[in-house]
Amino acid sequence: MKINNFELVKKDEAQWLLKKDYSGEDIYVFALENLLQQIEEDVFIQARNVAQLPGLAGPVCLMPDAHSGYGAPIGTVFAMKEEEGYVVPGAVGYDINCGMRLIITNLTFEEVSPFLEKLVNFLFEYIPAGVGRRGFLKINKNELKKIAEEGVNYLVKEKGIGWKEDIEKIEEKGEILGADFSCVSYEAIERGINQLATLGSGNHYLEVQKVEEIFDEKQAKKLGVFAKNQITIMIHCGSRGFGHQICSDYLRIFEKHLGDYRLKINDRQLACLPINSTYGRQYLKAMACAANFAFVNREAITYQVRKAFEKIFTKNVSNLGLNLVYDVAHNIAKKEIHSGKNVLIHRKGATRSYPNQPVIIGGSMETGSYLLLGTESALKKSYGSTAHGSGRTMSRAKAKKMIHGQKLWQKMKKEGIYVKSASFSGLAEEAGFAYKNISDVVKSIDKAGLSKPIAYFKPLGNIKG
């Protein structure tokens, strides 16, 4: 099959191999044909650049929600040899540990529906979104250091914010090891102190949802999803300006030192250095700080969610459920073992999908989201990775030309989705039609064997920046 001047060979119903017109590693695309045809030419060009990086331990994988990014496409996974390989900050992304969190409640749609608008308004007050708002958590530099180095453990055990039970349900228990605050710049620290416990903007959101469909009752029950119409909360955000600054800082350092290793790359956003070089190590230590910041950010937001529910439903939070199902990153580099080899996995816009691990895939604010489970075959096919969301198909400017934010707000309200947004403009940019169909993405990863769908959630209320 030919797509955008690139030839693809079908390996399976939802797995394709890009025909080589370059010297480098193979590129596999995991997508059903209808989604494959929606992938832009830039994605293949960028993936080809990735596949030509030095030190790769195997093929480059593209997820069905892939779309063009900077350097590496969003929806890329690859493995670098731990000893001789390279670390690529641009293939982790600016928003280090941007990720998803799913919380379940004991409440039903019928119980929440009369209070929905009030609840969403409260959440919007409790959890700052957009530009120029500080979070409830006032911290000093020393506390930021502890957060960055110790992650959720510090927040829960030392600050008394969040629940001990949550820690077990966060990827790496909310603490990426090896974090070293001395590798973080002054600029990143200053940006981070202001932005903890805030949602941010762009495609980040907090959503009140209801269980619309359950595909595997037994597994769903194990995860606390027990019936249709059960209320859930989904959070999508990351490491805010702290992570962005760390990525910016190291991209520039890496670019300046490419010559030290006589490295030639096809895209300056793919600047890389040996994992075991001074700056390679420093980046990974700083990246771990940002990843921990993001886990803490989502835990602090959860603390505020629980407070808002208590206030609205005038019950103790223990009677409302509000238990964490899982928290998982989709922009990260991690040392893992695959096929017996020690590698540094880069996941940019891709979720870890280990056997029986919950996977959370958020759709656009109009279409809904999925809970899935990781599989054995994901370990074999995609370094234990899967998709992360819907993937954009339209520019922000075009989306805004097609609908005004206020009109979209009214349309969504009629459809039963109440949105509180810091910006109508930002709302229009995130319209459902600007994204691929989330159900098609889930069908692709199911058919490819990368994850198994457990439940589907429909949005009821949404706060965004």
Binding site: Y70, E190, G202, H244, C247, L251, R392, S423, G426
Partner: protein, 139 residues
């Protein structure tokens, strides 16, 4: 001459801009305009706060421009400050400047946030009689 334009067909997830200026100083003023207009309505920004004596260094003008934009992002996140215009002085590869603008308040209409300046397609070009910057913001 157009001060700046959005090149939306070339970028799906984020925002690609092209900013123009007949002189280096005009280019920097137009960069402020483009930056602040993406975040809010610049006409609503008051010139009520001045941040003086800011300094940026770079190995060349391209790096000075990059560092200048990063400073705008830093001031937005740390000082909640949005600039309307600026006064500039060049000294070799150093830019000394002051910014005029205001602190972000609740009544300011927010369109979107700018989280980072990427190196993707970043280019500063001197054409025959004007300067042009191409850039992609992570939003």
């Amino acid at each position: 001459m157009k001060r700046w334009r959005v090149a939306d067909k070339e970028n799906i997830a984020d925002i690609k801009l092209e900013v123009f200026g007949e002189t280096k100083k005009e280019l920097l003023r137009n960069l402020i305009q483009a930056f602040t207009e993406r975040i809010t309505e610049i006409k609503k920004i008051k010139k009520e706060k001045v941040i003086k004596n800011l300094k940026i260094r770079g190995e060349n003008f391209s790096e000075v421009v990059f560092n200048f934009i990063e400073k705008l992002i830093f001031l937005k996140d740390v000082n909640f400050f949005l600039a309307k215009t600026g006064i500039f002085k060049f000294k070799n590869n150093e830019l000394i400047f002051s910014l005029l603008g205001q602190t972000i308040t609740k009544d300011l209409p927010i369109k979107t946030d700018i989280k980072a300046l990427t190196q993707h397609k970043f280019q500063v070009k001197k054409e025959k009689n004007y300067y042009k910057v191409s850039l992609v913001f992570d939003v």
